[in-house]
Symmetry: none
Subunit: 325 residues, 5 copies
């Protein structure tokens, strides 16, 4: 039975020792204090992918971002904040990320069971803007009192309001690091100066990942890039150097390269719910083969029945673990 | 005589013990400290509906919101701040909510007689805006020195200024919780990107309730929703999942579901004064039958003579208590 | 059944309204803000004696003061922090007072069920002193986060360290009052300049009660005084004015008079466990007849089996309520 | 190989889920926020005894307390701060506790590998006192930046300076809890009013454990008690109630009972290095059989060669796990 | 010419790049931020011994400690604060340490020329005590505004006031580290519980070095130890483990071992001015051969004419560099 799993599992050998790969990754964060390194290690050492250096994270901020019915009506069990902790646990995700309310509603009963990322800013679509900015809806103190390993923060490079978000992030990240927390940045290009296609253009996504890393993120989350190149000046550079961006794996590799030559953890989101699971799995294979660190999978997880979701997430993890081709 | 009621009533059995239902509700607030749980219990254990898990709250911020004559001329006794304490007490409401001035004017003489909610922000119509934002007119320290059980705060999802309000609420809620107070959020969709009809559309009201809960509200107050669906993307989601929203009770149920699957207290306002009391009672029946937690009734209470108001409120309570069909 | 008691009890009449006597008592605290008045009202309106202006409070700091075995071995159920909440609830005490650990251990599950007084300083006998001073073991912020109505604080007038305690109390009381809490002061004469007999001498006890009131206490707790007069100068004064101190009731009356002519709540402790209950009851009758406000009964309550304790406490209450002669 | 242990171990079932016993223990800390509950869970879920509710902790503050040669000369490898992390890891201890310098010296390279307790005060014997007080040598902020799960603090009940230590602990514990850390208190009776024999007398040890719990400790550490009763008043109480203290297991049971009737984690130290391991194992059996939660084993661990130490610690754990009689 | 000295002296090609030894030493400070590591590197990379991992530091706090005439009359040029900067520069010392006034008086004109250590506490002999405590005479902010690489702080283990000094150091070290400074601790056993001989006893010096390291010092400075063993309990430990302490080099080795097994920089002072330079050189040879990191040489430097001092210091450095036997 699951309830005894921890005790059983930890009764062998040397529990807790970091793998070589985890040590290597932690080595990239050499300016951070042991507290922050500890919390990055917790992210890397939890769940099915523990110790592999790969991550699958469950984020559930869609209720805030798109409204509850658009997020949860298709699988009504997901209205319950406990449901997502359960999915993350049962599937063996590395972490669960959500806004304040969802974390507060169920963190105590799941104390210590899954690493938590408190999303410190959030956006809703009741008021739409060309140049969006999220509201800051949580604090570093909230993250500490709720037992989180990291704060999460979204920036919209390309927005006329990007600078305000960068500056909010700066202050929150400084406070988080001083208190031993990790910093996860969602970097989503959006705004009046980008075309719709440009939001996932390879040059723009790579640029957004780089900005997040420059702002001090330990973990960077971006969308999977297309082979479109949005910026005219960038088009010249990509052409001149013949940067390989033909396949998704190549583009993932380029984004990872753009994020300090692979010395920051970069994970990718799948975006809107896909019709065919095989499409998501193919993306995971491309992320893996391109040297990406994993996926953050929201709607594709919680918008289906629980057992399907668990099976789906575990297939993802097996792809990253190399157990499924 | 009323003056001896407390002593008489409490002379039997085990005063104070929470009912099973109250314990269940308190269990949803597992991240909160005992102080906040105590003040939520005070809300639930006061008045006619004490212990039932249902609430009828008297709010009087209309003087600030609409001006005194529009609010009180029809029943001039209501200009007096004491009047509203008296109504709340005589009718047995769970709590009385008002801005700083009204609370300061009469809290001392009614010390301990009715749970108080200090409305920390308020809006007036002397300056009208398409995208409103309320002024912060009170503090958590005010709530403590005035003996309140909760702070109240209004957000206007859909306003271009919504984010500023979310951020004000974030800070005030963090401080309130640290000091053992509860947080009641009025979530009223308004603003330039919503149609008038959209302000009470079922998708928008459910969304507004969800946002309030994600911002950390213990009690969420929304308007009763219509069967209109405002957002195009939401229309698809409601249709696809065939969310039942045909009756008012069904819509209430959907809003409650959208607020952490019923794990937050959601109460509803009746809006503008109704011509027929029976219409308000029908709404209360729908709230009760849809699993809502109660009503917050302002103008329908204080814009009529005192004895009528008390009788009206008590009929409401009997509906929630199941004593009146 | 007890579990439904609140709902049943509050379904009649006008719950919450203060009695005339409670209003009169609250009127003495006219410099206090409504928050503090509210919390004094909560003390006066809870339990069997609600509304009568009389109080029976259960204090359990003896574990800290005398050690656990001396306190609880005789009734081992009392080792459990939940036990005391249960006794206070079942008997209908006005409040339960204890140090930080005991309150933290069970406050959440009993949220709102009984008014709590957090004892902010405590003393142990592992190191004995002629001129004792207690350690400050809790804060006003603790009291707020735990949902307490008051802070409790012990002073030892007569100790060479008394001034340090007065000054600690001053700061804590100022903070408590600003945050709407009440202040309960245990005033126990002790120290190298008092004889053992002098600790309960009528002149000394009256003096200690007066000092506590002058330090800003809302509720003063002293030991029952003997007819001994300790101070030579005082002996002259008592003789000259023929202050009646012959009976216990007269001495209680004098202590109450000494505490702002009865305009502060003064309660009395019974001290060590008595062999005969009737002796304790006689003391209660004397307190009642002398105009005292009630008793604070620790060891005589929790050092006997639960049902005996409840019956014992309820007899005390009936004496104060005038229902038992 | 050990380096892959985590990944291998966590690839099965539902990693992270708390056992029933861990949930039960966490339930005792109902006033704490989810952060503190999370860190208590981390203590309980690490190492060989993960999930059992039992703990074996490695403390290494003897270098500070007794000097380096007295602590480490017998096993010179132990001069190296890394050595102790290695022992804790290899043996599968629940946690490692040490002063600032030792933690700073090796926390980064072992990030996340073993739960850390930062000893915030320490004492040395270069200046000896009858009534000792430790120096505060670390801060809550240090604990956060170093990734610790708890602060550790020593009090000396019985010292003339005890009150100062209680008050230091009060402030540090309040700050630790607000930031989601756990509080471990070493409660060691010492001082001019206790005989040498009295320091481990059953009444004194039980009293010291009770005081630590009343001060808000989550985990209490005391020495194993003898059957001596130090305090005259206590002798009467033990005799009157016939408290069973004849065997070590009975005395452990009494100490556990004295710590909120077993609702706080109480662990025991073995004291000075024993000549025969079997004596230490017998003590562990008594702790286990008396309902104690485990051991904190310093000198008996690190004052012998590494492989012996690991084997010794693992035998201890097997006794607690019930795998060795 | 002096201006080229540094580059030449850096002994091996590539100015700026840390040597293997410096990298190894920096690796011991793994919990520190890059700012602190940078300032430790500056200490290690300056002067004649740059890159060797050895240090010779010039301290001039004797004016404060013993009065100006006792310190400077013998070489009146030394009254001038500029003089000491000049000596340090000309000789190629790793750093210059002094109280606030001396640093303020000449830091600007020598900006960047020699690493500075601001002594934050100082003691004078106008008032003498058995249990001394130094006055805090500078701040971390002073150290920053004056361009220092480290703060210096003296503790007197063995003093009845030692705890107060440890606690001052704790706070200052935390602040210094957060601001990227290094922490140098002078650990000088003194006080009423030590014999005069005990102040330099091998057990006491090793203990004092260990305490400084546990308090978080990056660099520890102690006096050279004698073969006396002061503490009775320590005598047993040294005998039992046959710790070799017969020669000065052996004793140095034991002190280095006691300071985290050599994982902290430990330097030694020569104490009072020696009559024969060869005695000082012999001590340096013993420090070098015992694995010590260098010397801190005050009176033996500035109490002789400038050119003699420079030659004297350079001989010391050549001994450490292995260029002089």
């Amino acid at each position: 039975m699951a309830a005894d799993a921890v005790a059983t599992l930890n009764r062998t050998g040397s529990p807790g020792r970091n793998t070589e790969r985890v040590r290597e990754i932690l080595g990239w964060y050499e300016s951070d204090n042991p507290g922050t390194k500890t919390n990055i290690a917790r992210l890397l050492n939890h769940g099915y992918l523990a110790g592999t250096g790969k991550l699958v994270i469950l984020p559930v901020d869609q209720g805030f971002e798109h409204g509850p019915a658009r997020s949860f009506a298709v699988n009504a069990a997901a209205y319950d904040p406990n449901y997502h902790f359960e999915i993350a646990l049962q599937a063996g995700c590395n972490a669960y990320a959500a806004p304040l309310g969802f974390i507060e509603a169920a963190a105590a009963r799941h104390a210590g069971e899954v690493p938590l990322i408190l999303k410190l800013n959030n956006h809703d679509v009741l008021h739409d803007e060309k140049d969006p900015i999220s509201a800051v809806t949580g604090s570093v103190k909230d993250a500490l009192r709720l037992g989180c390993v990291a704060i999460g923060f979204t920036i919209y490079p390309g927005s006329a309001n990007a600078k305000a978000m960068y500056e909010q992030l700066r202050g929150l990240a400084e406070e988080a690091k001083a208190n031993g927390l990790a910093v996860v940045v969602w970097s989503y290009p959006r705004g009046s100066s980008l075309s719709k296609e440009g939001e996932t253009a390879i040059d723009v996504v790579a640029y957004a990942a780089h900005i997040a890393a420059q702002l001090g993120a330990h973990v960077v989350k971006v969308k999977l890039p297309s082979d479109h190149i949005e910026q005219v000046e960038a088009q010249k550079a990509y052409a001149k150097s013949a940067v390989p961006i033909g396949t998704l794996a190549e583009r993932v590799r380029h984004v990872v390269q753009s994020t300090f030559d692979g010395r920051r953890i970069v994970i990718f989101s799948g975006g809107a719910k896909k019709d065919r699971d095989e499409d998501v799995f193919d993306e995971a294979r491309a992320i893996r083969d391109g040297g990406g660190f994993g996926s953050i999978i929201g709607r594709n997880s919680f918008q289906r029945p629980r057992e399907h979701a668990v099976k789906f997430l575990q297939t993802m993890m097996k792809i990253y673990a190399g157990e499924v081709k």
